[in-house]
């Protein structure tokens, strides 16, 4: 029933955004009358990064999370003109987007194969990071509702692998004992969505209860940074990029080349048809859950390394960005989620050049809403289904 690009829909979206934009500008201008310079306000927020440095402060550079630990020296910042700042932000955006993609691909696969908008997917990201911390930290850790305290202290790579395996297992358990049962009982998609909201609430607070509300770090070592042209990059970040890229390529090969992957895409395309042609739909969906949760866990771990720390609610913060990415790419399209994540990553990071860093997630949400208004099927989605 929906046309690919209904002019009325576009008009509506435009008007909505005009009104929103006028409102924001109006408030901002009322604002600037009171406080002389919005840029200073914005940069004041990032004072932790700028550390009172006049050059960075005025320019308002706030590569927020990345460099917050290692403040750039005055000499370096003096070299960096506005162009390199843009480049650095775009680069950060791509890195962030790659990691976001790890998480969103799973969300998209789940949506594609089951139709569920999984609101608990953010917590799967946090779960991975928390599990890795649990295994790797040299602080005493415990298990909820038991008085035991112990130190595991595994090396990071081992902890990460254990965390991913455990997360994958939790995906299997979830589908075996929760989602699979709900599907079998014929519980509606809306009800399933509300169940996932409950699960998200439970998991989020469970993680807080378990690991605590403080910011934690997976690795104690201070990153060695290299200057590649105008871009600063650390060793761990480079490794994270490599891992994320390899895994994403592996997922693509799996979907494209293997029998199981093709079956997955078939289920995504048309569940009834796939079932009729002899594909074991329930098995595929279980596989998708295991894959989605493991990928999310990996994403959470890499993100924690890249950001030099993480918190129990990191996933909750990322959830809407993932939705934005998945929607942008077209709900249920695995490659769309990848493309969407990269776009969202770049937009989020570059937006800090103009807006305060406390608004960087807001820009992603603005994109999400805009996309839903103008082209609900996403940039890669098909315009309409046949029949």
């Amino acid at each position: 029933m929906k046309r690919s690009l209904d002019t009325r829909v576009v008009l509506r979206a435009l008007v909505v955004f005009l009104v929103a934009a006028v409102a924001v500008t109006w408030v901002l201008s009322a604002q600037s009358a009171a406080t002389p310079d919005p840029v200073t306000v914005a940069s004041a927020v990032s004072a932790d990064a700028a550390a009172g440095d006049a050059v960075t402060g005025q320019a308002g550079t706030a590569e927020p999370s990345v460099s917050s630990e290692v403040a750039p020296t005055p000499e370096q910042t003096a070299v960096s003109d506005s162009q390199s700042r843009v480049l650095q932000n775009v680069f950060n955006g791509v890195v962030f987007g790659l990691m976001l993609a790890l998480a969103s691909v799973g969300l998209s696969l789940i949506y594609g194969t089951t139709g569920l908008s999984n609101f608990a997917h953010g917590e799967q990201v946090s779960l991975g990071a928390m599990l890795a911390y649990f295994f790797a930290t040299d602080q005493p850790v415990g298990i909820p509702l038991t008085p035991l305290k112990f130190v595991i202290g595994w090396p990071l790579w081992m902890a990460a692998i254990a965390a991913i395996i455990l997360a994958g297992a939790s995906g299997w358990v979830q589908d075996r004992f929760l989602w699979g049962k709900l599907r079998k009982r014929g519980v509606g998609i809306v009800q399933q969505m509300i169940v996932s909201i409950g699960l998200s609430l439970a998991l989020l607070n469970f993680l807080q209860w378990w690991i605590g509300p403080n910011r934690i770090r997976l690795s104690k070592s201070i990153e060695v940074r290299h200057q590649v042209g105008p871009i600063q990059v650390g060793n761990i970040t480079l490794m994270s990029i490599a891992i994320a890229a390899i895994v994403l390529i592996a997922v693509a090969i799996f979907l494209q080349r293997t029998r199981l992957g093709r079956a997955t895409r078939a289920v995504s395309d048309n569940r009834a048809l796939a079932a009729a042609s002899g594909i074991k739909v329930d098995f595929i969906i279980r596989l998708v859950w295991v894959m989605a949760v493991s990928l999310a866990a990996l994403g959470g771990i890499l993100m924690a390394l890249y950001d030099n720390g993480t918190k129990f609610d990191i996933g909750a913060k990322l959830l809407l960005l993932m939705f934005a990415a998945v929607t942008l790419g077209g709900l249920g399209q695995a490659y769309g989620a990848l493309a969407g994540s990269l776009v969202i990553g770049v937009v989020v990071e570059t937006s800090t050049l103009w807006l305060g860093p406390d608004l960087k997630y807001a820009t992603a949400l603005a994109i999400l809403i805009l996309v839903l208004l103008v082209r609900p099927q996403g940039i890669l989605g098909r315009a309409e289904r046949v029949g």
Binding site: P144, Q191, F206, W209, L365
Partner: protein, 325 residues
């Protein structure tokens, strides 16, 4: 033990409970009657808070504050609904949740510091005074039975009376509307939009009316909340929306008293669980600061179990279960 009992009963009538009951009445217009998936009720509440508190801080009278709160929420509803109500239901869910978060992000942004007070929000003493001066109760602590509250300030007897009076009025309005032919059309839309369309009703317009009305009720809930506490953008994050959903489903969606009963049960059991856990579980197993997340885990699990095992809630009609689609 006796103290805990008094705490639990006290929780049943605090302004917070009333505020959540109001928010749930609003959501009941959305989800209970019309089947709209508004996942951003906290955004409507936050807009209401800002509208009210800022108007009064800038010297406006109370009635104007309330009107600004309502109008803001209604405009927000119109803007959200206009493009999305023609799309599939879960699009509205994603748009509302994203828009509500945007309101929060914008509210706590340093860019709007002078207007919204950024992440610290607006302190109570900046906007509560006109309301507190209206209090007919004495300006000191007043004991009623075992319960001691202030006569006029913050979480006061005055606010308790006003908040529950509002709840009562809105429950009556909900009752009147849901039992009218207007409510019948909404219920029809909840069951099957196309069927209602084929019977000659303008579905889009009805959905919009429901969205706007429910959002306005949410803004009222925000006003009540802010009078009992303060305006704090981070208190209106996604968890708040999810709590409203939990207590609506707990009480029974589409029922008249479901939101009120749900809110009371929700908050009382939260206090009860925390109290009992503090009493019975040793500190080494569950420390004081772990109590809060522990009880919220239970909230999440409750929401899941409700949807799976008793989607009609406490007050819902059992017969509906037989053909729950």
């Amino acid at each position: 033990m006796g103290d805990l009992f008094i705490d639990v009963v006290r929780e049943a009538f605090t302004p917070t409970t009333a505020a959540f009951a109001l928010a749930a009445v609003g959501l009941n217009f959305h989800f209970g009657l019309t089947g709209l998936l508004n996942m951003g009720q906290a955004g409507f509440m936050l807009l209401g808070m800002y509208g009210f508190a800022i108007t009064i801080r800038e010297g406006g009278p109370i009635w104007l504050g309330v009107i600004v709160a309502l109008v803001l929420a209604m405009v927000f509803g119109l803007l959200l609904g206009w493009p999305t109500l023609k799309l599939r239901g879960d699009y509205l869910a994603i748009v509302t949740i994203a828009a509500a978060e945007m309101v929060r992000y914008l509210g706590r942004s340093q860019n709007f510091n002078a207007l919204t007070g950024a992440s610290t929000g607006i302190r109570g003493n900046e906007f509560k005074e006109p309301f507190e001066q209206l209090s007919p109760f004495p300006d000191r602590m007043v004991d009623v039975g075992p319960f001691a509250l202030h006569g006029a300030r913050s979480t006061s007897w005055w606010l308790v009376v006003v908040a529950w009076a509002l709840v009562a009025i809105l429950v009556v309005i909900f009752w009147r509307l849901s039992r009218s032919p207007w409510g019948r059309v909404l219920k029809g839309i909840r069951e099957d939009e196309d069927a209602v369309r084929s019977l000659g009703k303008n579905v889009y317009s009805y959905k919009m009316q429901a969205l706007v009305i429910g959002g306005a009720v949410g803004a009222l809930a925000g006003v009540v909340w802010s009078l009992g506490a303060s305006v704090q953008p981070d208190s209106m994050g996604r968890p708040t929306t999810f709590w409203v959903w939990t207590l609506l489903l707990l009480g029974g969606a589409a029922t008249i008293f479901g939101p009120v009963l749900g809110s009371i049960i929700f908050w009382c059991s939260l206090v009860l669980v925390k109290g009992l856990a503090a009493m019975w579980i040793p500190d080494s197993v569950l420390s004081q600061q772990q109590l809060e997340p522990f009880s919220l885990v239970l909230v999440g699990v409750t929401l899941m179990c409700l949807v799976i095992f008793r989607p009609q809630g406490v007050l819902g009609d059992k017969r509906e279960l037989a053909f729950n689609d």
